[in-house]
């Protein structure tokens, strides 16, 4: 089974293309939005914002390319607001067992409730996704 070493959403992930080293900039913990009191926001609204998540996996050599991962942005009521496409867990450098997957999100939910970034994985072809990690993001929605 693949072993998840790290799952973290960040404002930006800096990738050194030469070495493959990554740097996480501004770990996401909380989202703050200040809106006019008169502005009505329909349920399940999203606003454009660029942020990213990093998943670091360790995969046995015998299981290279047999599993895939997917990340979801999940609202408190269970609604999935955004999905990343499934990505195969296979090393990108020869002789290594590490897999790093950077998923880019282009929206944030406009809500007054916390939401989750959920990472799931499955054996390719299996019907069900298995949870690997859930990262909660707090929300402060101020009306003024």
């Amino acid at each position: 089974m693949p072993r998840l070493l790290l799952f973290a959403p960040c404002e930006k992930i800096d990738l050194d293309e030469t070495t493959g080293l990554v740097s996480l900039i501004h770990l996401v913990e909380k989202l703050e939005v200040t809106l006019p009191a008169a502005l009505q926001i329909p349920p399940h609204s999203v606003a454009p914002m660029h942020w990213q998540s990093l998943a670091v996996w360790q995969v046995d050599r015998s299981e290279f390319g047999q599993y895939e991962q997917m990340a979801n942005l999940v609202l408190e009521d269970g609604t999935v607001a955004a999905n990343s496409e499934p990505k195969k867990l296979e090393p990108t450098l020869p002789g290594t067992t590490g897999v790093k997957i950077i998923a880019t999100l282009s929206v944030v939910p406009i809500t007054d409730k916390p939401f989750l970034l959920r990472l799931s994985y499955r054996k390719i072809g299996a019907p069900e996704w298995m949870p690997a990690a859930e990262y909660p993001v707090e929300v402060l929605l101020v009306r003024q």
Binding site: E11, E29, Q40, W51, I110
Partner: protein, 107 residues
């Protein structure tokens, strides 16, 4: 090109503020914004449904009045819920410090 200060639509001609009309929110600059602030016009437009004004122009496929207004004028921002606590690993005394144990190279 310039941005509408009422709805955030980004494809207005530069001379729109000389009595031009935003095709997105329908604000006529130099007229509607004489008596109301841009924010008041924005909230009024959204309260009425935030519809695309100029039916002779097709809105961009990505056009979303609420999302565009929130992203342009009330930007969500990231915040922290804690301050990191710092600690250090202590090296076990059974470990050998190579700095002090390596013999000097004979000259």
């Amino acid at each position: 090109m310039t941005m509408c200060p009422v709805c955030g639509y980004r494809c207005l001609p530069d001379d729109v503020f000389d009595h031009g009309i935003c095709p997105s929110c329908g604000t006529e600059f130099g007229y509607d914004d004489v008596t109301l602030t841009h924010e008041a016009l924005r909230l009024e437009w959204l309260a009425k449904g935030g519809e695309w004004f100029d039916k002779s122009i097709t809105p961009p496929s990505s056009w979303d009045p609420v999302a565009d207004v929130v992203a342009t004028f009330y930007k969500p921002r990231l915040a922290s819920i804690s301050r990191p606590v710092r600690t250090e690993f202590r090296v076990d005394k059974m470990m050998t410090d190579v700095e002090t144990k390596v013999l000097p190279v004979a000259s």
